[in-house]
Amino acid sequence: MTPLLWRALLRHPLRHPWQLGLAILGIALGVAVVLAVDLANASARRSFDLAMNRLTGHATHRLVGGPQGVPEAVYVQLRLERGLRQVAPVVTGTLPRADQPGQLFQILGIDPFAEAPFRDPAADVTGSNFDLRALLLRPDAALLPASLGEQVTLRRGEQRFTLQRAGTLNGPELDSLIITDISTAQTLLGHTGWLSHIDLILPEGTTGETLAAELRAGLPPELRLEQPAQRNQATVDLSAAFSLNLTAMSLLALVVGLFLIYNAISFSVVQRRALLGMLRALGVSRQELLLGILGEALLLGVAGTLLGGLLGLWLGSGLVHLVTRTINDLYYVLSVREFFIDPWSLAKGAALGLLATLVAAWLPAREAAAVPPGLALSRAHLESRWRAALPRLVLTGLALLGSGGVILGFSHALLPGFVGLFLLILGCALLTPPAVVGLVRFNRPLAARLGLLARMANRDVARHLSRTGIAVAALMVAFATTVGVGVMVDSFRGGVVIWINELLNADLYIAPPAIEDGGGSETVEPAALATLRETPGVAAVSTYRRLVVDLNGRPVQVMAVDLAPASRAGYHLISGDPATAWRAFQTGEAILISEPLAHRRGLRAGDALDLPTDRGLRRFAIAGVFLDYGSEHGRILLHRSGYERDWHEPTVGSMAAFAAPGENLATLRERLQDRLGPIQPLLIRSNRDIQSRTLEIFDRTFTITNVLRLLAILVAVVGVLSALLALHLERAREFAVLRATGMTAGEIGGLVSLQTGFMGAAAGLLALPTGLLLAAVLIFVINQRAFGWSLPFQVDPMLLLETLVLAIFAALLAGLYPIWRMARARPADALRTE
């Protein structure tokens, strides 16, 4: 490659700044979306790691207990009787800010004297104003994050607690943390007499292992000694599935971007076929042209990737809040104030952008290298080559669909699921140009009736298939993504609505107020339960107690329930005979497990599961598997009789009341408030209240998904704009001839609008089956593998209609600039300069 040859090739894009800009923008948007999601995930992950590391500190082991935690006395025993010195008690829980209930804080209660070997307060706390004395002696003293003022008021149910600053926690990852003395934390969280866990540092090697074994042997059955890393890893694994889903969504935007790059480079090759032919005639070799076009694409890729990097940083700093909010809603309290720019994410984004550009440019570059010397390759020749390639496109498309299907059918992991999904999308994209030709043929009778302009517009789409086919494919993929993700979210929401309506079928739900703030340890007074049962107008009562047990390092909820027959109807069993299952369940010997748990551990009705109880590990038969979207960690339903048998101090966490027939709910609610209020402050909510709160969280969770959908559409609109601009600029002479023969600028505009509208409609129509296929894979394969949820397949016809209208609108919008340019162009110029 000589400098003049580079110049000859590279000056072309510089002379067509609009095309150049749109090609760069296409790459940039694709890279930006991928990078933004990756950076947001990396920031959330890093904040989580930092927070966990700060909290776990140097502890090698952790002593954990039943639902209430570990009795305080155990700590004293460890220190005094066993003589362990590196032991630290911890009380932890979550409370909301009183004036901003959405802002949650993790309370960490510590013993400052025992802390030194575990967590290094000097690293987190501003030394100059850390008042240890105050922390120990004042019940309202706390180490507060730097972002808070001198005091903060927290809420637990009806109670308010104001904490005063006794020191400052530094570091954005500690923004949602409040550190207090043990006793303050116990008061705040209502854990008096109990510790959440006890951290230990045991020596490394066999000495430590022996000591751990000795400790385990001497523990009462309700206590367990575990390694903190196990629990952290389980939480990270779960949110990893969420991150992977987001990454896959962002890659879809890159796939659309890939089409745009292909389109841009391919067009620039076609536009220069005369130039390439001349260069070949002058003795430029095929390899030189191939290198030249790839080099040009690489420069475009570098520019697009740089711009995409900047856009991605900006977009990522916005997305990180959405990601964090979802993680807070679904997984754990996480504060991500600092947007962490992960160099690895940047490198991945850059590599992906450049690689995608080169992959997309490879075919057009080969096309350029194949240009015969001279002027042998005419546009008509190119189009006829495209038409000749249609059968091959169909075969390749079908082969990709087939391989995607095989991978989806024969694999069980998440990653092959995504590979299969991408193969299906690619297959459908390859089938798009042949489908466009089919649609043009199908449309012919209608176009014939609509007149000359419609006939020309219809025919032009097929005649310029090398351009229109790619543009329609890019638009189709983007809108199919919209349909696929839209149907998946709708189906999910529909499933959740049905599930929650069935599950929460009692009329009123009664619980201590703290339960809504995540404080599951508060319980209902037995007197309150008795009063509820006796209250006139209450036909039946169900009781619930939520415990969290550790199953192989994963926190799994056990719901100890005494269900009224109507409540039982709310559980939809997907494995096991309902009559037999409920009968076995009632004995307290068998449990029902949720679908995600069954999926993750490969369990079904008839199997057994060992649960850690206060009386040690106990084996329960699995009577059935129920549909559940409540927790992807998994849930276990245990009859109260089993709970009372295997756990100490059985309590009730919340209650559900069924009103007697004909009873007015508002009256019953007032009556219950009057009767229960004097016993204990309790929150009484209608089922509709709880349902709407659940759906609110659900909708918030999917905000980020919708943002990514919109971004994919934006990428596609840029693609169509670039394709149409290129196409119409290339046809300037053709339009000039039409103008010269008497067609007005308005009529040309009409022709272009008809053509772009047709392309949009074709993309929209083809996006519907592709999107439904995508939705089916997302619902039945991806979600199933990532979270273990089986969802119904619900299609909202409005979503399909919206997609079609949006696709046509996007195409028409993209056609506006070319129309405006053509209206301003003087036909004489076009005729002269061709």
């Binding site: 000589t2 400098p3 003049l4 040859l5 110049r7 000859a8 090739l9 590279l10 000056r11 072309h12 002379r15 005369a274 130039l275 001349m278 260069l279 070949r280 005639a281 002058l282 003795g283 430029v284 070799s285 095929r286 390899q287 015969p372 010397p373 001279g374 002027l375 300069t833």
Partner: protein, 230 residues
Amino acid sequence: MALSPPFIALHNLRKQYIEGDQQRIIFADLSLDIGRGEFVALLGQSGSGKSTLLNLLGGIDLPDAGQIRISDRMLTALSEVERTRFRRRHIGFVFQFFNLIPTLTVAENLLLPLELNGLTSPEQCDRALELLDQVGLGNRRASFPERLSGGEQQRLALARALVHGPWLLLADEPTGNLDAATGEHILELLLTLHRQAETTMVMVTHSQAVAARADRILVLESGQIRELAR
């Protein structure tokens, strides 16, 4: 005294195209010799295969059968890459529609063949720019081709075709797109440069007047070459 072999020898060439189900034979058994430094005019009706013959001579296309030898190189035995290199070094093209590189300036268009051949010493570049003066474009070096008139573009195309001292100049109706006066001027220039460089030249033309200036006039009809008597 032994006769020296012809500079260009076309031996039993066959070329045909498939058009749909039809087979169109351009040449069935064409043979032709051209001497070094000769100026050969090629006449023939549209579609008679003149441009095809030119493409075969330039190594752009290959015959279905037969041999083409230029000097001591058997063109038909060369690979695509070798033919490209041969064309780069030894062939100059002039087209009816000029075919300049629109993204390169006048000077850059001229220097491109030199650069492709690695002939970029200051002396070689200076000589090339002298050639630009000779064709009357010395003051337009920095202009892009679109700013030049048709005559100027063709003069630049002539200079570009000859700048690297090719053995063979192939001209496809070089005056076909110009008015009579400009065409005559270009032809004069072409002949002058051809004589100066002692290059062999094959020119496709429709004009009897232009053909009359050639050393030999060949007519291509029905796949056969016929030489017109002078």
